[in-house]
Symmetry: C2
């Protein structure tokens, strides 16, 4: 007998497929409005593509194997190395900035946890070749606009935005010694999931001054005015100014609506990866994992051996977004029934039904009919069960009767 799909993999019956299609259609529609064009890469890539970026540790989390040509390969766990490879190969021929999106299925061999999958679909939006914060603003606005187009509001969702360079300046202004910075980032990254006393203890162990500890454990509450007052000179002050411009840009791109945005210096993403502004999109209730996350990674392409090029991107998975939409009653698509159920009477030869079906289908209508003679009442029941929008009997030659 059949055992079912592998653990962590999903079957998409028509209902689940309709939900996935709703999410993907929203992704594609909004990405298109922002003038991003779609690309795709192979789901199987050389293993080296991932170890080069993430080190050998990553291998423990991958679906990797040796293929029949003795190549070390892996199912893609993320899209960025693929996009970096594709852009590197055609770096000179591509129009800049490169504005690309993709919706790959990604794979991780994660230890089995409840509700934790081993595959998901992830929208990837990347903008390469533009260093100005206007590019950062386009990216975040696109992410927020997708959430908005899904039916969510800024009461449901917030984009938390940060910049490592500003965080560093704030920490320095609080008297954190430079040698402690990396450790402090790690503590900040875990603040939300750690009791305050534990974080404070760890900060003390790093020689962070007591006055600073109080501010660091509540660093999520530092607002832009406080940033401006604390960071008043040097390169960091320029970055603060740029950040202010960024926030104004994002608001402009969202039609003046700032309610989606929040400065939150506790957002620390991949340390070795991001070089500037970073963001994560969360539901405000804090019930779900991040809906989306991304930022600027200006040095990544060069470090992977590609063309040095400023770059930034974000990812948004189908699973968390789907859970949130479902919880809010916003994930309601059903598999489309046909436009028309075409019914013949017992006197109509099936060929007559088929000729009429052909005529309607040529007119771009979707048509179902009984594949063997049935009574009208039985056909009516079948039509209802199928979700057909119209029930048309052939004897009405003029066409429709609802």
């Amino acid at each position: 007998m059949f055992k079912g799909a592998l653990p962590g993999f999903r079957d998409f019956y028509p209902q689940e497929l309709a939900e996935r299609a709703f999410i993907m259609r929203t992704w594609r529609d909004v990405a298109r409005r922002y003038a991003f064009v779609e690309y795709d890469g192979p789901p199987l890539e050389p293993l080296e593509l991932y170890t080069r970026k993430s080190g050998e540790e990553i291998v423990g989390q991958l679906y990797n194997f040796v293929d029949k040509g003795d190549r070390e390969v892996a199912l893609r766990p993320e899209m960025t190395p693929t996009v970096a490879r594709m852009v590197a190969v055609r770096a000179n021929a591509l129009r800049k900035p490169v504005r690309w999106f993709s919706m790959p299925q990604l794979f991780r061999y994660e230890r089995q946890q409840k509700g934790r999958l081993r595959e998901h679909y992830q929208l990837n939006v990347d903008l390469l070749g533009e260093a100005d914060v206007a590019a950062d603003a386009e990216l975040l606005a696109c992410a927020v606009d997708i959430v908005r187009a899904s039916g969510l509001t800024s009461n449901d969702v917030v984009a938390r935005v940060s910049d490592r360079r500003i965080l560093q300046a704030i920490l320095e202004s609080l008297g954190v010694p430079p040698s402690a910075l990396a450790g402090v980032y790690g503590i900040i990254d875990k603040l939300e999931r750690t009791p305050v006393a534990v974080s404070a203890e760890k900060l003390t162990a790093l020689d962070v001054p007591a006055e600073a500890i109080e501010r660091i454990v509540t660093i999520a509450n530092v607002d832009f005015a406080e940033v401006q007052s604390r960071v008043t000179s040097g390169a960091a002050a320029t970055q603060v100014e740029e950040f202010g411009r960024y926030m104004r840009y994002v608001a402009a791109l969202l039609g003046g609506d700032e309610s989606w945005l929040r400065l939150d210096l506790s957002i620390v993403r991949g340390l070795a990866y991001y070089t500037g502004i970073v963001f994560e999109v969360f539901d405000r209730s804090g019930e779900f994992r991040a809906i989306a996350g991304g930022g600027r990674y200006d040095t990544l392409l060069a470090s992977l051996g590609g063309a040095g090029m400023p770059a930034l991107g974000f990812g948004m998975g189908d699973v968390v977004l789907g859970e949130l939409l479902r919880a809010k009653g916003l994930l309601t698509p059903a598999p489309a029934g046909s436009d028309i159920w075409l019914a013949g009477t017992e006197h109509d030869p099936l060929e007559r039904v088929m000729r009429e079906a052909a005529r309607l289908r040529a007119d771009d209508r979707s048509v179902e009919y009984a594949l063997r003679p049935q009574s009208l009442s039985r056909q009516k029941k079948a039509a209802q069960a199928s979700g057909a929008r119209e029930f048309v009997t052939l004897s009405n030659d003029d066409g429709r009767n609802g």
Copy 2:
């Protein structure tokens, strides 16, 4: 440096993605018109799902490996075992007939040949739970209508249709001994690619009478009238009648156009698999491999351990169809440029451009603009290079100027 994708795998840059999307959109549109609903399954499945249907030999052609939980797994080489599994799991709950389609990416580790890929996308259309030839007719009409919707005509393409049971009756009427039938099927399957003398020799070795050999090597030319005259009694005569009804149905579903169809008893597909009518769609020039193929496999679900249920389906890959469309000049989509390139003058602050972009995007227009201040002439050039359909300058507050 970057090495590129694995051999046999494709990168889809925006141009290639646009071509793939054109093909997939046609698949989806026509399948929808025929009231098929979309489903999907995992690209990674238990290896057993494939060996159970095709035997251990199949393993040599698969991307298979042992995962980190010691499971034997394989990248899916075909979709039918997945659909059989999914239908078996919910056999009672599903409305009959089940009318499903999917567009999976499939994987085979084939020996490297020029132009031969290790992955492709394949439309799979399946109809389960209906034994009548009306179901067979729906399937073939759907396949032909896809080809037609792609811009091809019946001068370019023909569907070659056969039925193993009729072929058997013809062979018996020609005096082929029952013990030789399986061998003769194999010879017929290879007729097109084999010199006549070689086929004749092989048939002689199987004790096929000399008079029969002449007809068998030209069996592709046996028309329906000859079938009717040769098979006049018994179960086979009923099948001939059914086959006649099937051909009339297909013609009706194609709006009366029979020019797409041709009886061709040389079409022999997987012997262990198909149980009734089978078909293959080819370009008439004979330059390409089959565009699509399928048929009835009434016993497959039960043999895989699922619910016994009459069933039929076809597959159509993106590669051969794409090659044919390209050869005919019918694969011309380009990545969509934006609807509007929005240009600010040097005096316009970027935020003003962004606010207008937001307004237009909210109105479902796709909008690109320069992410840093540029002269109007430079922006005009960028707009042209981007393929934007309109160039709109902000100073014209009333909106468009083409």
